[in-house]
Symmetry: D3
Subunit: 132 residues, 6 copies
């Protein structure tokens, strides 16, 4: 299913192809996943999304695998099927073991249930948790 | 706001007090936040929630601070005001720096926007992302 | 907080007042909660919402208290603070005991965690769960 | 689609098989749905999830069918495709009629629209709905 | 996948067929999409949903295409796969160009990321944004 | 409530102040709302968010007021209290009338209920809604 079909290299504009080339270089693989091939229908949106992603997921104070696990956790909470698939693959590619995956799932499940309880009970925020 | 008021130590049942005592021992502080004081209205739910939390957030293959950051990311995605407050405090208590917090926020924002795009475009999952 | 202030009986239009009068008669109380007083800014929306609510929450095959508990469960899952407050009150008014409230919360928490796991794992739907 | 394939009885660990055996006994059927077969990749998570589910969905103050309907309502609100399928089947197995299903759907739709209105208008919670 | 199969014209009740006939007349096409064919299992819910939709999406102060784009934006935010597909088609049928679609997607992505940031930071609402 | 307090002009870094100055110039007002004052704790995130917002909400093929209404619709669906307040104000500043606001709310409520129904029924996507 889709509302726009993924574009092949032959179908994209020159502007979009330039982004795909950057993705290939950054990831050191010829494979381009459907997310980018669909965004290629709008080269400006493709460019802005990739440029920001490269910065956010690039070098920083957090481990790259940890960032992928956080990305995956948000994607699961948002119920994004595509993103869960792609970021599980990305986290594995960056070293996530099966044990770490299981632990991530346990934290996601735990947070989801206490989120639901706090929302269902509308628990008042403790004063000490609030910025001064 | 709340639908049940947070119970004081004097108001809780013996069963609930036993859980609060365990929380104090585990966290090495006398302070008990409202989440547990509201759950104390239902001692069995309080017990089950704390017992599971202690296991999930206890020693494992992921760093405790990383687990708190994942917990915070899920809570933000689920729009849980209470949980965002309490787990930001918990992540800081476990060493999250301001720079790491900023990086976490950037990943959450990035994931949220690509989740939205993937959902809005119903992008088909690439074959290589699917379990064999 | 609000983006439109709740209207008093003196401020609403005749069209809106007619709806408030119906709500008072149906609920046998003079009290009108803020939800309706804010919707009163748009009498047509107020009318359509109340008319539908009266049908949906009126006599049927499910117990009125059960319907309020389902309403509360959906409101918690959607993170609607106002609705959690008002439908907890409504469920209690229709007889929900503290024990039933605790059991409802436990089901909400359970569902939320297995929902999160199923979404995080993108579990394939079993053939026998699908309509023929 | 999936990120982990459902394990057959032959593929699961002894620890996981023990849980599957308990599920079969509790449900009095040989059939094990994919949710448990995928969780079996992490026997500790499988065990904790099943143990809690058995308590929460076991005997209590609410009718078992009502609990399944609440579970289904939360799953729909959370947009969990797998859970909607499995808990619609479970509610039917516990006696939900087509008329009750229709009424459940009507309540879910009603709650979803008033949740959206309350969130879009940020309606202030009435004082009488707040815990003293 | 589905939990109820879409009913053919031959399978629906007379009450439901009357609604399908109105939909055909309003849209000037013989085609009826699955949403209505599944709702036809509950003629009263089908009737109420169609009657309200006809009013809400009918003539008003906003352009019909704009209303479809808003509908699509909400559907994407709610992660509703079916609705994203059907309302993308509807917006296109009412004139949405590829450029407008791209701009809509950009706004959805932008809102999703600032929503996530505001929720993750629990930013206090400025006084001037609150109703007097 | 907040997890980081809004920074005054005196507290922000030079890098952040430059962004606030751009916001003031673009909006032709001295007022800076809390969203930007909290983001100012992370000047790089503040810069990236503002730069992208300026492009997305700048001149294009959609009317500026329409874009604000779409932004508001997404914010309501995501349950973002802050964003609902700020974008209701922004839409009004760009000309949204009370009648248009009411119509927007009606579309949001309608979409939310059909989203919930489609998710609760897992309605199969019609072939003609899928990209070729």
């Amino acid at each position: 299913m889709a509302v726009l079909h993924p574009l092949s290299d032959e179908e994209v504009s020159a502007e979009a192809l330039a982004v795909l080339t950057e993705i290939r270089a950054a990831r050191q693989t010829d494979f381009i996943n459907n997310f980018w091939r669909v965004l290629a229908h709008d080269p400006a949106l493709l460019r802005a999304t990739w440029d920001r992603l490269a910065v956010v997921m690039g070098p920083g104070t957090l481990d790259p695998m940890v960032k992928e696990m956080i990305y995956l956790a948000v994607s699961a909470a948002n119920g994004c099927s595509y993103c869960v698939h792609s970021h599980t693959a990305a986290a594995r590619a960056k070293g996530m073991t099966e044990a770490q995956h299981g632990e991530l799932l346990s934290v996601i499940a735990m947070a989801s249930q206490t989120n639901a309880l706090a929302n269902a009970l509308q628990i008042p925020v403790d004063e000490r948790f609030q910025a001064g």
